[in-house]
């Protein structure tokens, strides 16, 4: 480029608003026909009001491509270098479980999130929003690709890295839960709801922060490959997650705060449930003790409760009606799920790390006072069985009851044990003659607000009782969930935690 050209080039701010304004006046179709409400979800607010949608993070296509190429080049070259090393073999067994669980649960949803972003890119009512969402769709395609390719490179070391692609083609119970969540959040959702539920609630509230922490943890345990991957994704997410803010602002400015509040309340709870299962276990049990910088509870309190919740209060939104229950669950819910997942370890594609050696119990007691006298007592029984060689007693022989909304085992009994709940019985609701069971009031509330959205789905228990799982026992359930014997999870350390020094001795 000559100096003459450089002088005449416009700065981005001179042309950006014009270039992103691709709105035009429809003459051959109605606004409703071009933006069907079922897909757009935007008709509470006029078309004119949507023109005030303004993204906080502005980028041109040229800048976008330049940034993304740089990110991919850096991350892929790091992977190529590391793949020839023995780095994966040297990782802590618990950390290997973190990344295996992550790839199986997250890779395909990243692909599917491209559908959600594309829906906003087509059915968002503001041209600026459609422009931003187009970048978001490209982001999510990249995240799907990169998170399929990285585990592919691990196949010779860990065949279950294949679950990055395989999981969503199975009816594994974790996948049923993840698929139900993301179908609700973006695959079967309208543009406005996706902006509020995917980008504002899940990404701004949970994953954007989690990815920052996860990348730091990866570096700390020496997993440079996963750390680089997660950092590369997080920087995209920090940009496209900002679609939520202008969308909620347009709703509020036009008198529809209540609808925005409902959508956020709905998805904040669901995000919390998924997050507790995936991140709660990773942070408090799977990550090596020496690499834990904060407990899951501290993370939720510092990042989600303080930062995100204060942000949505800044918009004039209220805390969700179940806020006290959410705060209460931070101290016990994921401990119960962890115990269950470890117990049902053959049903997952990673090796659950018990994470309850004598030193780890000390840490748990410090972070969660009372842990030893509640969950610790359950682990004592398990440990006694392992120390006496009765390993068979540490495996389950029946299925847990699953929630008909979140599809996660009902662990209210642990809430009673922890002094947080009065009753362990699943909550019930009958709709069109069918009875549904729920793990919590918010899950029941989400279902009953729009039952037609969820009523047709069958939980693993519904399928079992309908005779869809054969033989009707745990072996039949494992086959139904797509787990060959070689794929079934085992204790991450071959019970080393149980055979070492006992607490207090």
């Amino acid at each position: 480029m000559t100096g003459e050209h450089a002088k005449t080039r416009l700065s981005r701010s001179d042309w950006y608003d014009l270039s992103r304004d691709t709105n035009w006046t429809f003459r051959y179709v109605t606004e409703e026909a071009a933006f069907p409400e079922e897909l757009s979800g935007s008709h509470r607010v006029s078309g004119e009001a949507w023109t005030r949608w303004d993204e906080p993070y502005k980028i041109s296509y040229r800048e976008y491509v330049h940034n993304q190429v740089t990110k991919d080049a850096t991350t892929y070259s790091l992977k190529n270098t590391i793949s020839r090393s023995k780095l994966f073999d040297q990782l802590d067994p618990g950390w290997k479980s973190v990344i295996l669980a992550h790839y199986g649960a997250i890779t395909m949803p990243e692909y599917l999130a491209a559908i959600g972003e594309a829906r906003m890119a087509r059915f968002g009512r503001s041209a600026a929003w459609r422009n931003t969402a187009t970048f978001g769709a490209l982001d999510e395609m990249r995240h799907g690709q990169i998170q399929a390719f990285f585990p592919y490179g691990l196949l010779d070391k860990e065949p279950r890295a294949d679950w990055a692609l395989k999981s969503f083609h199975t009816d594994n119970w974790v996948v049923l839960a993840v698929r139900h969540l993301f179908d609700d959040m973006f695959v079967a959702n309208d543009a406005v709801s996706i902006a509020l539920q995917l980008t504002f609630t899940l990404e701004t509230g949970f994953t954007n922060l989690q990815f920052l922490g996860m990348a730091a943890d990866a570096m700390d345990v020496g997993d440079l490959e996963f750390g680089a991957l997660i950092s590369s994704i997080q920087t995209d997410e920090a940009r496209h997650s900002q679609q939520g803010e202008p969308t909620i602002k347009v709703l509020i400015d036009n008198g529809h705060k209540e609808w925005g509040q409902f959508l956020i309340d709905h998805m904040f709870w669901r995000s919390w449930r998924a997050f507790a299962v995936l991140t709660g276990l990773s942070m408090d049990y799977y990550t090596p003790l020496e690499s834990r910088r904060m407990s899951f509870k501290e993370f939720i309190e510092d990042w989600v409760v303080k930062q995100f919740a204060e942000q949505f209060r800044d918009f004039g939104l209220e805390y969700p009606w179940y806020w006290d229950q959410f705060i209460n669950e931070i101290t016990w819910y994921h401990h119960a799920i962890h115990l269950g997942v470890w117990n049902y370890r053959p049903t997952v594609w990673w090796n659950p790390d018990a994470g309850v050696s004598a030193e780890e119990r000390e840490w748990l007691e410090e972070k969660y006072p009372g842990w030893n006298s509640t969950f610790g007592r359950n682990w004592d029984v398990i440990q006694d069985n392992l120390r006496s060689g009765n390993i068979a007693a540490t495996f389950p022989e029946t299925l847990p009851i699953m929630c008909n909304l979140c599809q996660i085992p009902v662990v209210r009994a642990a809430g009673v044990m922890a002094g947080a709940l009065d009753s362990a019985a699943p909550l019930r609701h009958t709709h069109n003659g069918r009875t549904y069971l729920f793990c919590s009031e918010p899950c029941k509330w989400i279902f009953t607000q729009r039952p037609e959205r969820f009523a047709g789905h069958k939980s693993l228990i519904d399928r079992f009782l309908a005779g869809e799982i054969s033989p009707p026992d745990l072996s039949g359930a494992l086959a139904y969930m797509g787990l060959s014997e070689a794929e079934q999870g085992r204790d991450a350390t071959d019970y080393a935690w149980a055979l070492g020094p006992v607490r207090g001795i």
């Binding site: 119960a336 115990l339 269950g340 117990n343 969950f375 007592r377 359950n378 004592d380 029984v381 398990i382 069985n385 007693a393 540490t394 389950p396 022989e397 029946t398 299925l399 847990p400 009851i401 085992p409 009902v410 662990v411 209210r412 009994a413 642990a414 044990m417 362990a424 019985a425 699943p426 009875t435 069971l437 228990i461 079992f464 009782l465």
Partner: protein
């Protein structure tokens, strides 16, 4: 004789379980069927008798579960009676 799948948990365990029982089973047998999955697995065994509670009411040990009015996936709780 009919299969009755129940939701159940044992006191001081963490999770609700699918427990298939027969509607002719007594509460004592139902308690044992729940305990089989929990006691000695996640809850320590004790020498106290096992009882079953439904909607806050302790069932007489010899009462047949089908006579209690339980439906599929109704929830019962088993516990050690140390009173």
């Amino acid at each position: 004789m009919a299969l009755l799948p129940l939701s159940a948990h044992f006191e001081n365990d963490v999770v609700a379980l699918l427990i298939p029982v027969d509607d002719q089973d007594t509460a004592r047998v139902v308690g044992q069927k729940i305990a089989e999955h929990v006691v000695g697995h996640r809850v320590a065994a004790r020498s106290a008798p096992i009882r079953v509670r439904y909607e806050g009411r302790v069932l007489p040990p010899e009462q047949r579960i089908g006579e209690v009015g339980l439906g599929p996936l109704d929830h019962v709780e088993a516990f050690f009676d140390e009173s």
